[in-house]
Amino acid sequence: MTAAGGAPPAAAGDAPAPTPGSLERRARRLLRWYPAGWRVRYGEEFAELLLAELAEQPRAWRRTVNVAQCGITARLAAAGLAGPPAGPAGARASLGTLTCSLAVFLTFGTAMWAQLAVGWQWAPPATMATTAAMLVMSGSLLFLAVLALLAAVPAGWVAILAGFRRQALALRAPTLLMGAGALVLVAGGRHFGNGWPGTGGHWWPHQGLAPGGIAAFGWASTLSVTSYWAHPAALVSFPPAELAWMVLSPAALLSLASGAVQLVRRLELSPRILAFETRIGRAAAAGMTAFLAGALCWVAQAGPGPHGLFRTGDIDVAGLAVMAAALATGWLAICRARPLPPARATGHR
């Protein structure tokens, strides 16, 4: 642990007196622990307090730890994960965090589901566990897609209305970010998905559980979620275009997700719509839980099926861990969402 501001401690007796410039820099460094919104409101006065504290007691590791701890708490509160319920703004922050968790969850979940759905194009699973897991995972994904549509309709309507008002500027950047990400993902996913052998060309009764085109699109859009990253020698043999897509697609996913999160946080929804979106958020967390249960069932119970299909690997176990973390964060966020403003405290709570 370093002393306040992160500077190395000097030997006692020969330490030069800190200059106002160095104290200011150390105060600014400490301030970085806090989120941007907090710094806008309290940054200047807090820096002034830190300057006075640093001048009085230049080295104090307890102070650094305290500032770091409170800064992290402030960041969690800004994400709707800690602190007292903060009304509509807090509910939007919680929904934004849930959107972020959902994006991470779906990236790894779709990668897992797509390999099973593509495998089913060739042969049905040999074990009941894999069949049940696929049914639960597919049902959950369908449920999440319906919820996404239900959530997007009122939010989209508010965004369109806001487009005609002064809020339009604040929504422009996230909308562009989201649109660009979605465009790249759809174009690339369709291009590389169509190249997958055995999918997309079958008649409906011969397509397994999910249509081959959708399975191949899911596979292609999450192509970067692969254990090949740990085997550079194998990666070298990949076609250059596919390698480029494995690098580009995560950027497109990131752009889509970060645009959606910013949009959710910035949209000024009415209390009624916010309450509706919060209920949708809770249902989405339940859908994610069901999907994770299905995925867990597959990884824990299923062995390789016919032709070596449906084989689980380390990447699937890692995917499960990431999905579990994303789900826990999503539940924490949505459970803290309170669409109505908190009652003003006039005494003990």
């Binding site: 200047e44 006065e45 807090f46 006075a52």
Partner: protein, 102 residues
Amino acid sequence: MGRSAGPATLILSSLADGAKHGYALTKDIEAFAGVRLAPGTLYEALSRLEGQGLIEALASDDRRRPYRLTAAGAEALHAHLQAQRHVADIGLRRLAGNWGVA
């Protein structure tokens, strides 16, 4: 005041004497309570109390922004201190009766 009753009580008690900025609050609390609030803890409590409407920020010409108690804050502090006094009175009476500690 809830979970953060400790720092909140100290801050409200300090502001009961008049408006103060962060460093003045720290020094005043250290003088009357013998507790030095760390800067992160102080501002965590200040932002929570401001959000609850128990204190309010005043306009300032420099970077040091003073805070003052609101009417709701005075009422909350009074209720909290009365409850504390009630507990303290009972505890002292029982100590005097059973342990002979005056």
